[in-house]
């Protein structure tokens, strides 16, 4: 990868998602919409979810900002679409823990498997200034899901 070291924050997976983001389209038919910003880099994301039978049936987003925020939102979308809400939020917790570990987390095989491409962001945890970038999409997803739950009787 262009001579970048293995320790580089910019793993190939991150660059791929940045250049070719997944689910980067705003749903027409949705149950909740949120808009989150990260003042550090001026990153923004607008995210919509559609919830059916307690699961995230569809999710789409539009955004602008640094590669970490955009790639992380793309990876998150892949992970949570089709999952029931409890599992999606559990993944969010897992990713949050990884990001807040200051780089000292040692992911078990099970957690690493569950996070799939999101493990590529492990290196970001060492850079406190960038952690918010990696969390942007995840926080937006959590906020959107919470809205749909609040809306239900």
């Amino acid at each position: 990868m262009s001579g970048l070291s293995m320790e580089s924050m910019y793993q190939e997976i991150i660059l791929d998602h940045y250049k070719h983001p997944h689910h980067r389209v705003l749903l027409e038919d949705f149950d909740a919409e949120v808009h989150h910003v990260n003042p550090t880099c001026g990153d923004e994301v607008t995210l919509r979810v559609q919830v059916r039978d307690g699961a995230i049936a569809a999710l789409g987003w539009q955004g602008e900002g640094c590669s970490i925020s955009q790639a992380s939102t793309s990876v998150m979308s892949d992970l949570v679409v089709g999952k029931d809400i409890a599992s999606a939020l559990a993944l969010q917790e897992l990713f949050l823990g990884l990001m807040q570990s200051k780089g000292s987390a040692h992911l078990g095989d099970e957690d690493a498997d569950a996070l799939e491409d999101a493990v590529a962001f492990e290196g970001v945890a060492k850079y406190p200034a960038r952690v918010k970038c990696a969390l942007l999409g995840w926080m937006a997803m959590k906020g959107a899901v919470a809205q749909t739950e609040g809306a239900r009787p």
Partner: protein, 420 residues
């Protein structure tokens, strides 16, 4: 470029931090506009103060107290000589530029209720003028002053090249203008503003001129009398001195009529429960125990720069700027934000790289040992003006070499490759 008079390699040896490595690479520090590094002489001066003379100033009669006072006041003399102030009493030590600018703005609002300070009063119908390229430290204090007094806050616009729009000067600065405050050299664009032109217009309409010299005093000879300005702010940590000390310079006749801002010990003449009279400048504006070690460190930084000579410093950095602008122009997708010719501009170069966010540029450069800054550089209106969220900024100092600029150019080209 390195003439016998200016030996950048010798200068680099005076800065201990420059031997550091970052991510296994030699540090290439291109963030001096943010804060500069400190030469050994400054570190030694601070240590020597605490180790051998530590005491409070201006109040103790014992030996250490008088040594501390002598050292502290000697720094005031050095700073006064450095900017060619008419007298040492024109030098007020503050925490930094931001505090110096706030001091002026609060002193002016205190004038509203202070007898004898009538010439500083402003209110509804009066106007305060800044420029669109100000650092927030020379923008927000004036917005707040306008809010407190009912005066109108206005600004001189900038053009696509990062220069003031000349034709707006005579219109925006008019008979209603009471204060014109502007940056000498922009921290976001590198632009050096036409001080003489602005001073002439401001004085023609009877306005006070405040200069934010945070980014000029470290990089060029600054002579307050030749500039013809009224008040000026600068900050120690950008001129190879420590953090925690800055300077307000003001013409003595003005300082003598300005009401105090912060009150406390050392700023009084006599205190009575029925009322207090204030010390003469500079002490009127230095309430409480000052930043003694830091001021002494700043004095050492001034000695260091004086020994090199500010003309030599300026020549060195102008040569670097020309070299960098030419080299950076060869990088595909790189756009300079600010003047792209080495005329009336300093060694601070902001740029955008097509398709790559500035935070990614700076992070990837950091992985190569190169320190630059990304963001709005505390001058958000500048980014808004150019329709971008942020820029990447490389800024140079006395210890910067052309080899470091080569490293930057190669580093940025590498960033483009990674994101291609």
């Amino acid at each position: 470029m390195t003439s016998s008079a200016f030996d950048v390699e010798a200068i680099r040896k005076d800065f201990p931090i420059l031997t550091r490595e970052v991510h296994g690479r030699p540090l290439v520090y291109l963030d001096s506009a943010n804060t500069s590094h400190k030469p050994r002489a400054v570190l030694d001066a601070i240590e020597d103060f605490y180790a051998a003379h530590n005491s409070n100033v201006a109040r103790a009669v014992h030996t250490l107290g008088s040594e501390a006072t002598t050292l502290f006041e000697a720094s005031r003399d050095k700073v006064a000589a450095f900017i060619n102030a008419a007298s040492r009493e024109e030098i007020v030590f503050t925490k930094n530029s931001s505090e110096a600018l706030n001091l002026i703005a609060y002193s002016i609002s205190n004038a509203t209720t202070t007898p004898g300070a009538e010439r500083f009063r402003i209110g509804p119908g009066d106007e305060i003028v800044v420029t669109e390229m100000e650092h927030h430290s020379n923008l927000v204090p004036w917005q707040l002053l306008a809010q407190r007094t009912g005066a109108t806050f206005r600004w001189l616009p900038i053009d696509d090249d990062g220069r003031l729009v000349e034709s707006s000067i005579d219109e925006i600065i008019n008979e209603r203008t009471k204060i014109v405050s502007f940056v000498h050299q922009s921290n976001a664009l590198g632009t050096v503003n036409p001080v003489a032109r602005l001073v002439e217009r401001a004085h023609a309409v009877g306005a006070l001129v405040v200069l934010d010299a945070s980014q000029s005093v470290p990089h060029m000879p600054v002579d307050v009398q030749a500039l013809g300005i009224d008040l000026m702010a600068f900050t120690g940590h950008k001129m190879y001195g420590p953090t925690g000390v800055g300077v307000l310079w003001g013409r003595y006749d003005l300082l003598a009529e300005m009401p105090p801002f912060l009150a406390g010990g050392e700023m009084i003449e006599t205190v009575d429960m029925a009322g207090t009279t204030y010390a003469l400048p500079p002490h009127r504006f230095e309430a409480g125990t000052p930043m003694i070690a830091e001021a002494i460190g700043l004095g050492a930084a001034v000695d260091y720069l004086t020994a090199i000579g500010m003309d030599a410093v300026h020549d060195h950095e102008q040569a670097l700027t020309a070299y960098a602008l030419e080299a950076m122009a060869t990088v595909p997708g790189l756009r300079i934000i600010g003047p792209d010719q080495p005329v009336d501009r300093g060694a601070t170069i902001s740029f955008a790289l097509k398709g790559v966010h500035p935070h990614d540029v700076s992070q990837l450069l950091d992985e190569q040992g190169i320190a630059v800054r990304a963001g709005h550089h505390c001058a958000r209106p500048v980014c808004v003006r150019y329709g971008i969220a942020a820029t990447t900024r490389a800024s140079f100092g006395i210890y910067t070499t052309t080899a470091e600029i080569d490293a930057l150019v190669a580093g940025v080209a590498r960033v483009s490759e990674v994101f291609a």
